[in-house]
Structures are given as C-alpha cells and as structure tokens.
C-alpha cells in the first residue's frame, strides 16, 4: 500500500470513529437535529467548519506544503450553479427520509447495521444513474479511453472523483 493510500485510510478511520462517537450514525439523532429539537449536531457541524476554515487558511498563509504531494496547500472554489441547488434538493429529501448521509452510511456498515444495506445499495445506484444521465444515450463505456487514472503531476495521489 503506498503512502497516499495509507494516509487516506487513516484519515477515514479517524472520520468514521468520530462519526460513530458523535452518534452521527444514529438516525434518531439526525432526526432531532432536522426537527430542530436539539442543537448538538448543529454545534458540532459549526465547530468543525470553523476549525477547518481557520486551520487551512493558516496553513496557506504560512505556505505550508502538503506532506505527501509536496505542493503548497491550496484549493479551488466553485461558483454556485443550478446543479448545486437541484442536486442538494434531491439529496436533502433522501437525507430527511432516511436520516442518514453518505459518511454515516459507511460508518453504519462498519458498525454492522443491517438496515444500512438497502441504503448503501441505493446510494451506489444513485451515483450510477448520475453517470448514465450525464453520459446520455451514447454507450457508457469507451474502452479506448480506459487507462490508468491520471496521476497528479509529481505525486503519488491517485486522482479521485471531485466530490
């Protein structure tokens, strides 16, 4: 396992552990959040974003280089587009019905929650439908374009989906 994969797995372990510890995997707790009955999840989310927001700016200002890629810490931002509103609306309905979002569903699988199996299957189908729709009626597979996923210049990092 290369270092980038190892780092990704370790970050995920931390993320999954914290989601579990915060009970973010408990649908009843998400429901209380969405019914505005309990501030805990809102406070948790706001604190996480505040720390992230300040922390990455401090790193950028100090011209910190990313440990594994060697590049200066930087990011790109997206202008609001129609897809942000349309996609988020569809996602919001699914979130409210199930009281689960993609991170917690992965953590629920790790905790051995059987109810999460139809949910995670649905998420995979939804992602596949997105590709089908985006690629239109033309054949989805273009064998000639298959090759190693493009690596970022000078890095070990296998490029990931943008989301």
């Amino acid at each position: 396992m290369n270092r980038a994969r190892l780092a990704s797995v370790l970050l995920g372990i931390g993320f999954g552990f914290l989601l579990s510890w915060a009970h973010f995997v408990d649908p009843d707790q998400i429901r209380r959040m969405l019914l505005l009955q309990e501030p805990y999840m809102w406070e948790f989310f706001a604190a996480a974003v505040a720390v992230g927001f300040v922390g990455i700016r401090l790193m950028r200002r100090a011209r910190v280089r990313s440990l594994l890629t060697g590049e200066p810490v930087r990011w790109s931002v997206a202008k609001p587009e129609r897809r942000h509103v349309v996609g988020a609306t569809i996602f919001g309905v699914g979130w409210a019905v199930s009281d689960v979002c993609p991170g917690p569903v992965a953590a629920q699988i790790g905790q051995g929650i059987v109810w999460s199996l139809p949910l995670i299957t649905g998420v995979a189908i939804g992602v596949a439908l997105h590709f089908r729709r985006e690629e239109g009626p033309a054949p989805a597979r273009e064998p000639e374009s298959r090759g190693p996923a493009p690596l970022k210049a000078g890095t070990l990092l296998p490029a990931s989906s943008a989301d």
Binding site: S8, L10, L11, G12, F15, G16, F17, L18, W21, A22, V25, L34, L36, E43, F44, F45, A47, V49, G52, G55, I56, R74, W75, V77, A78, P80, E81, R83, G87, A88, T89, I90, G92, V93, G94, W95, A96, C101, P102, G103, A106, Q108, I109, G110, G112, I113, L119, G122, V123, I125, G126, V127, F131, R146, P148, P158, A159, S160, S161, D163
Partner: protein, 160 residues
Amino acid sequence: MSHTLLQRPAWYVIGPLMGLIVIAAFALLNERVGVIGGFSDVVERLTGRRSVLGWKAWFVFGIVGGALVFRLLAGGATVRHGHHFSWLTRELSGGSGGLVAGGVLLVAGVLIGFGSKTASGCTSGNGLGGCSTGSPGSLVATGTFMAVAIAVSFLIRAVT
C-alpha cells in the same frame, strides 16, 4: 473505556476534532474531504469508468474500518433501537412493513447518491470540506440541503 465511548462527547470537543480531519486532509494530501466521491470512485471502478481507485475510495474504506474499531472498543453500536433503525422502520413495522421500509431506504439512498453527485458533494464534501474552503457553490448547496431536509422532516412529522 467503553462507557466513555458510548456517551457522546460535548460538541466543542468532537466538532474541533472533526475540523482537524479537514485540516489533516490538506496537510497530508492537499485535498478536500468528501465521502460521495469515494462511493463514486468505487462505482466508476466497478463499471469500468476508471482503472484505479482514487484516494477517496480508500478514505471511505477507512470510515468503515474506523466505525468497526469504534464498535469493538465501545462494546456496542451507536444505533441502538433494538431491531429498529429510525422513524421509518417504527412506522412500517409488522407484516411486510420491514420489506417496505427496506424499499423506502433503497429509494432514499438513490436520492442521496444521485443528488449529492449532481451537487458535487454531500454533507462532508460540500458541508464540511466545501464550507471550510469557503466555496460559494458549496455554501449554496449546504444551505439548500439543510433547508430542504428540515422542511421535509417537519412534513414527515406532520403526516405520520
């Protein structure tokens, strides 16, 4: 140890720890965290759209592993409603209700996957990562899915 873990910590402890994951993803990989991108990597790999799993797929494998580690250390899951899962399974219990609840969860999953992929991010990608970078698109998406989820939750409560 296990007793401590099954109690959720104060928000001002766990929130900043989660923020540190966002920071660590930049410090190590120069990347924005995102979970639906990991699901997408796996789907793309299985359907022949990519030949190598991206880093987010490994991140998601880590989430599964981290939750398993948590369960082993805590001595129990943090979804503990007997054989129930949520309002949905309680509402649809008895007879073929479980099957119907599973079907509704499958459809909800499709909406989650399709919607978050269309919006280029879920609660982690747009919510945690995107809001931390201050991306206007992510801020709009986050405001939208939160508002919609709140509205739909109140609607569900009103009709059940």
